[in-house]
Chain length 222, copies 2
DNA sequence: AACTGTGAACGTCTTCACAGCG
DNA sequence: CGCTGTGAAGACGTTCACAGTT
């Protein structure tokens, strides 16, 4: 069930797998059955050698002289990323952002389902957002157990983020996506990914000031 | 006005400056006037040598045997990131996410102001969101010129993102923050930063499957 | 002939360890 | 003595270039 833990996949590669997955989905929808590393690289906005090296960490899935079978590769990447499983998520903090995330259709990644919402504000508890009843923050432990929560999404104000993280960790959640600014303290067996609007804008500000462009992130020329 | 372009600051360092800035702000609010690289590193969840090397790219701002003056360092980082200037932003796509971003108080980074909203849906045009009137997507060029837009924030569905990017680029915008999934094609003098929920969740999925944790992103142990 | 898979070269980022300064 | 600033070492990531396979 779990992929072979013998192969160590570099973090940089892991971070690009979702990108390849998306590009491959587009190709599959366009009825393309086979794709070369050159074409995949072009569509993803990266170097072809990088594509080949990245994919080689997952195994030898290509055919020399031909390319990669789109459906097969999709399946392998999906398996590697756990997209074949179900990951119930809870959103902590149902303000503007939390509500928007709850309603976010294009949650894109299959398998990631928002199944519960909690908020510390008694006025919000009991309200319905995206067909879910908002529950009290104090119930977080109960909610996580009941819904078998795998991922906690923190969408609280910065000041409440550490409490949210502590609550999630206490409830046994080991993967956290943090939209609040500031640094979270968590035990080192917990994974945290941070998404911070202010940080991204500030990075753009730096390069705008310099008249230079950022290669730090995904896009392709022309 | 513009920082000395002679010093080349590594991208990895640029990406951490907003983090240091936030930590320093916290220290300043707590009336701390001087901070060591050790303490700053602890608060930011990174290695102390990294902090010193990063800061050394900006200049020699510390005092040996003492540490860094919090206010002075804040000012220097702010200058480097362009936080001392005003960056008018437009949000393209006023759905759940676009509206949430428009209302986002903690836009945290001073200087970044959302001053205009545009949407391709005629039903949305004319509505007021976050005290701003939604304007037609066709008016994007006019809007960007009128408001001297520096940064475009794309919050459209995936299918409309490339059109949004083309419109922004055509209007002379050279910094783009993209919340839509998929890869954008832009001229190579345009900076694009991408924020993608699905990607982040998929990365968490990978590590959850492996029982390992991600060092890829900001958090500190314990 | 076309394209993958990969060793080796290269470049970038991180960390160490200590000289240098206050 | 304490802490910064930095050369040097090491780890990591990217790209090249080509041998190997279909």
């Amino acid at each position: 069930m779990t992929p072979d833990p013998g192969r160590r996949i570099p973090e940089a590669t892991v971070a690009r797998l979702p990108l390849y997955y998306r590009v491959l989905l587009e190709s599959a929808e366009a009825r393309v059955s086979t794709i070369s590393s050159d074409r995949l690289a072009e569509m993803a906005g990266v170097n072809a050698a990088k594509v080949r090296k990245d994919l080689s960490y997952l195994g030898s899935f290509g055919t020399r002289g031909v390319g990669y079978d789109v459906d097969y590769l999709l399946h392998e990447i999906a398996r590697e990323l756990g997209l074949t499983q179900d990951w119930p998520c809870v959103i902590v903090g149902v303000g503007n952002l939390g509500a928007a995330l709850a309603n976010y259709r294009g949650f894109g990644a299959r398998g990631f389902r928002v199944v519960a919402l909690v908020d510390a504000d008694p006025a919000k508890v009991g309200q319905t957002v995206a067909d879910l009843r908002v529950e009290a923050f104090a119930e977080l432990g109960t909610v996580c157990a009941r819904e078998r929560i795998a991922i906690g999404i923190i969408a609280t104000p910065a000041g409440a983020a550490q409490d949210a993280a502590d609550g999630l960790v206490g409830a046994g959640v080991r993967s956290v996506l943090n939209f609040a600014s500031g640094v979270l303290s968590v035990p080192d067996d917990v994974s945290v990914r941070k998404v911070d609007l202010a940080t991204e804008l500030q990075i753009l500000g730096f390069y705008q000031l310099r008249g230079a462009n950022t290669a730090l992130n995904t896009s392709r020329p022309a």
